[in-house]
């Protein structure tokens, strides 16, 4: 499972001397008792990149993000944000974060919550400006308790914008939102408020990673198992799924079907064949040849699907795959 790491096609860092990496994690390790949550994780993120942090539950995403934000101390290895320790970067307002849930006081209004956070930073953007950028000017005087989940998430987003950070870390920002809410949120994220900022987001929704990230980092068992643009990760399992309905009518015998299955199995690039009821489903790297044979043998309802990021995700993160 270690050999699958796709090197991200990074151009030589010509300006690395001038601008330090936005995030630099070096052999990061953290254990909780017996459990090794993060196991020698390496990751470099250049300024301006939009990176999706993907992995199954327990992969070590949250632990990594905690250490990246200075909320947890690594057992071994190092974390640098723009070339400095995380706590320093947080104190300077260089990095901010949008949490999944919580992190708000019920008894303050939206504006008061932003004012509160704003007062802590040495310098921050104007309250009205971040309210506008987060699209919550109209609910500025509502009490947080009465806000919807989506409105609260926008408030967290507004608070994250306050110090004008160079790096924003989002820990599963759209969990619990409906499809429309998710789309609206990402629409906001793509708006000018984030131009030029480095973004790292952890997500359960693979389509989000596919659609919004320049780069996808897959983690499993506390290590990076794949790293590259979404299409590259998807391509790591090049096989497609071909499915068709078998011609099990009177004039085709059982042995005829078995003969067809044998011949399909003999084709180059076939990885697996399954038959459930009359439906055949096969994985192959040469979908054309399989389709041709199925078609010539009176199979119907032919379908060819290329693999989603989700399939790549499952095959790359499951042990012994």
């Amino acid at each position: 499972m270690t050999s699958q790491t796709a090197t991200h096609t990074a151009p030589p860092t010509r300006t690395s001397a001038a601008t330090p990496a936005a995030v630099s994690l070096n052999r990061l390790t953290k254990s909780f008792g017996e459990l090794t949550a993060v196991d020698g994780l390496n990751l470099d993120i250049r300024p301006g990149e939009v990176v999706a942090f993907l992995g199954p539950n327990g992969a070590g995403k949250t632990t990594t993000i905690d250490m990246l934000l200075g909320l947890g101390r690594p057992d071994d290895g190092s974390v640098e944000i723009f070339g400095m320790p995380p706590r320093r970067a947080v104190a300077l307002g260089l990095v901010s974060s949008v949490m999944q849930t919580g992190g708000l006081l019920d008894d303050l209004t939206v504006r008061e919550t932003v004012d509160y956070t704003s007062a802590i930073f040495a310098s921050s953007l104007d309250t009205d400006l971040v309210l506008e950028r987060a699209g919550i000017t109209d609910i500025a005087d509502s009490v947080v308790k009465k806000c919807s989940g989506g409105q609260k998430q926008r408030l967290r987003f507004a608070m994250a914008l306050l110090p004008d950070p160079a790096l924003i870390v989002l820990d599963e920002p759209t969990t619990g939102m409906d499809v429309t809410g998710r789309r609206d949120f990402w629409h906001q994220m793509r708006a000018d408020a984030l131009t030029g900022k480095t973004i790292l987001f952890a997500t359960h929704y693979l389509e989000e990673a596919d659609e919004f990230a320049d780069r996808v980092v897959l983690v499993a068992d506390g290590r990076v198992v794949a790293d590259g643009p979404a299409h590259e990760i998807r391509g790591m399992t090049a096989a497609k799924t071909v499915s068709a309905t078998l011609p099990m009518t009177d004039d085709t015998t059982e042995s005829g079907v078995n003969d067809l299955l044998d011949r399909l199995g003999g084709l180059a690039g076939v990885e697996s064949i399954d038959v459930a009821a009359k439906r055949l489903k096969m994985r192959t790297t040469d979908s054309d040849a399989a389709a041709k044979m199925l078609f010539e043998n009176a199979c119907t309802d032919l379908e060819i699907t290329s693999h989603s990021l989700e399939d790549a995700f499952i095959s790359l993160t499951s042990k012994g795959a």
């Binding site: 300006t15 001038a18 601008t19 949250t62 006081l105 956070t117």
Partner: protein, 288 residues
């Protein structure tokens, strides 16, 4: 992969453009970034500010339960226990005056302890974690909590004293002022106590436990009833509790002398609670 047209700074999308321009743009961007880096500062006083004090006070005043416990309850207690004993003398002091000082102390204790214990709720809400992602220093945060709680305690002192004056309990203004100030000052001990409990106990019962403990401490510590009514053993134990020490100090201006060990007791308790809070804060996991 969808290339975001708006991320100009992204090297891969920039790679499609002429490489010379690319380098120039990136160098310029780096220079701008480094300049902006130099302009970034860390807040003074660990993030402590008047705005935070104002907003925290506002939160207190919006909480109806806080107001009931810190203002209405001591006032009602005074009317029940204080006023009915008016004219009776405890040594050289009017019992009603003696009781009003005790109840003001109790009100301030409740205000500061529950105010401190509120950190338990804020931890559960994830607000503490949110604050950990700002430059706000934990000491500044706790100091704000303590000041706001003491301010609320001061309100409870004023309510009881005004009520005492209105109902005809006479005392020199200087005595009341001195006593009131001592109440507010010593309530800091209980603010630290509340913060410690807030970091040690789960949110659901931190405040209930705090109120219960305070009730017991006040009862055996001589705030509600004179210490002399308890058995000897209990009296001895009571002398070591924080409520006893505080009670002795705040009643000192009324005359009639006081236990000098009370000052030592209060300072030791303050030390214990502050150290306990610092320890609890450190062991508190960032993610709740």
């Amino acid at each position: 992969m969808s290339v975001r047209p708006d991320t100009v700074a992204h090297p891969e999308s920039a790679a499609h453009t002429d490489s010379l321009t690319d380098t120039e743009t990136r160098t310029a961007a780096s220079a701008t970034f480094l300049t902006s880096l130099e302009n970034r500062r860390v807040p003074r006083l660990g993030g402590f500010s008047v705005t935070l004090l104002r907003l925290e006070l506002l939160r207190k005043l919006r909480n109806r339960r806080t107001l009931i416990f810190t203002m209405i309850m001591p006032a009602v207690f005074y009317l029940i226990f204080g006023l009915t004993n008016k004219g009776e003398m405890l040594g050289s002091t009017d019992a009603a005056l003696y009781i009003s000082v005790s109840l003001a102390t109790y009100g301030a204790m409740i205000a500061t302890t529950t105010g401190g214990a509120q950190v338990a709720i804020e931890r559960a809400l994830g607000w503490s974690r949110q604050l950990a992602l700002t430059p706000l220093h934990p000491a500044a945060y706790i100091l704000i909590k303590v000041i706001v709680s003491m301010a609320l305690g001061a309100v409870s002192v004023i309510v009881v004293f005004v009520l005492a004056a209105v109902t005809g309990v006479h005392a020199p203004l200087g005595t009341l002022m001195a006593s009131g100030l001592l109440v507010i000052l010593t309530s800091g001990v209980f603010a630290a106590f509340g913060v410690m409990l807030g970091y040690l106990l789960p949110a659901e019962n931190a405040i209930q436990v705090a109120s219960m403990v305070l009730g017991i401490l006040s009862l055996i510590g001589g705030l509600f009833v004179p210490l002399e009514i308890w058995p000897d053993t209990l009296q001895t134990i009571a002398r070591f509790t924080p409520a006893y020490g505080v009670g002795e100090i705040v009643r000192a201006p009324l005359g009639g002398g006081y236990d000098h060990w009370a000052i030592v007791s209060v300072i030791v308790w303050l030390g214990i609670f502050v150290a306990g809070s610092a320890w609890a804060l450190r062991r508190d996991t960032a993610r709740v």
